[in-house]
């Protein structure tokens, strides 16, 4: 079998070679790939290189005894300690040099220390405008300028009290938020997290405003109503029957965990 034909037609793809090196194949596939590779000297060397690179990468991240890294599997390697030791030494040296270099570069670019305010100049501008808007009468026009600093607001509204009036006002508020966002040309993601005593809002059998929830979910594609599964499980246990939620509502594992998760992701949190 000639190398030319192999490289043109039967040569396994880069993905297959990588999967082979990573040991992701079943024994049959592995044997077949091994045969193909063995039939071409060029290919064997390439795979051997890949294998060595993989071992080196592994070695860089954990303290594996390096004996097997360049051992008997690849005939082309010289084997033993002498082959990998210079590489590792050079690697560590490069790591130190790279760190120092990176530090110097970033310090010059203003990521450290004194130039900090320059990097966050946009925020400072936004704050200045907030301060300025405090003095402006009405305050209706100023938010537009402040909001222009970023594109999308992601807001989590957390409700856990069963007050019907508060629920109605929450729905009013959401509509008003979307109106205001549209008027200043901003995108808005709203997630309502319902748990504990507020579950009525999304319960199929006792929702006070099911039509409104349905129409709002339709009007605002970026609005999500989410119900805490733990609260629903508790209610089901207490009432001895399963508790269904409105078709527009989604289940989340835990209301509190979701609130924490979203804040960690940078969402704005408001408890209503």
């Amino acid at each position: 079998m000639s190398n030319e034909r192999l490289s043109a037609k039967n040569r396994p793809s880069e993905e297959i070679l990588n999967a082979f090196v990573d040991g992701e194949f079943s024994p049959e596939d592995r044997l077949y790939t091994l045969k193909t590779i063995a039939s071409s000297e060029h290919l064997s060397r390439e795979v051997c290189d890949m294998h060595q690179l993989k071992e080196l990468v592994n070695m860089a991240y954990e303290d594996v005894p390096a004996g097997r890294a360049s051992g008997g599997r690849c005939r082309l390697s010289r084997g033993g300690r002498s082959a990998w030791f210079p590489s590792v030494a050079a690697g560590v040296l490069a790591l130190v040099v790279g760190s120092l270099g990176g530090y110097e570069v970033t310090r010059d670019a203003g990521f450290f220390g004194d130039n900090h305010s320059a990097a966050t100049g946009q925020d400072a501008g936004a704050l200045a405008q907030v301060a300025a808007s405090d003095e402006a009468p009405g305050g209706a026009a100023a938010p537009q300028q402040v909001f222009s600093a970023t594109k999308t607001d992601q807001v989590l509204l957390h409700i856990n009290e069963g007050d019907k009036r508060a629920m109605a006002e929450l729905l009013d508020d959401i509509e008003s938020m979307y109106r205001e966002a549209a008027s200043v040309g901003r995108d808005l993601d709203v997630q309502v997290v319902v748990h504990n005593n507020a579950m009525d809002l999304l319960r199929a059998d006792s929702a006070p405003y099911p039509e409104r929830v349905a129409s709002m979910a339709q009007d605002y594609p970026t609005l999500r109503f989410t119900a805490c599964a733990q609260t629903l499980n508790r209610l089901a246990r207490e009432e001895g029957r399963s508790v269904d939620i409105l078709p527009q509502a989604e289940l989340i594992d835990s209301g509190v965990a979701e609130a924490a998760r979203r804040q960690a992701e940078g969402w704005i949190y408001i408890k209503v």
Partner: protein, 163 residues
């Protein structure tokens, strides 16, 4: 077949490859730590917004007391900007302040310390309230939508507290 040079070549490739990889990793690490290590400037004021949306006079008094403690507990000279956003049923705080002298003087004392009391315009509209029904609310204290204002303030760096 020139086996000798071929046997050496992979080693050199790897050496150079590993060197470049490490160089990149080192630079990336320095960059990462550079961004994490940012500290806020010392003269940056601490901005806080208190959100009140329940009609509960006891909660109102406690919240305002907390707020005074917040101010008292801040080292002298450290800049502090506090806003109170009343919204929904919480608007009653400023209604009660018209008739309850204790509450009124607490609100006035906080205002003298530059605490701003903001009112949700939607709530005033839905409850048919005018500014005259609330304790000393100027036109600039009325924001169109309470929740939108809370979003705006948090986006601008205010810390959110729900007493």
């Amino acid at each position: 077949m020139n086996r000798g040079t071929r046997a050496l070549r992979p080693g050199w490739h790897l050496l150079v490859g590993a060197f470049l990889l490490m160089l990149a990793a080192g630079a990336a690490t320095a960059l990462l730590f550079g961004t994490v290590a940012e500290a806020p400037a010392a003269d940056e004021p601490l901005r806080v917004v208190y959100h009140i949306n329940t009609d509960d006079p006891e909660l109102h008094l406690n919240a305002l007391r907390n707020l005074q403690n917040h101010i008292d507990g801040t080292p002298a000279g450290a800049p502090l900007e506090i806003k109170v956003l009343t919204h929904g049923s919480g608007i009653s705080l400023l209604q009660h302040a018209r008739t309850d002298p204790d509450l009124r003087s607490t609100v006035n004392t906080l205002r003298l310390q530059d605490v701003r009391f903001l009112v949700c315009g939607n709530t005033m509209e839905s409850r048919g309230l005018e500014r005259e029904d609330l304790h000393e609310v100027a036109e600039k204290d009325v924001v169109p939508s309470g929740l939108a204002e809370l979003t705006r303030l948090q986006r601008a760096g205010y810390t959110y507290i729900k007493p």
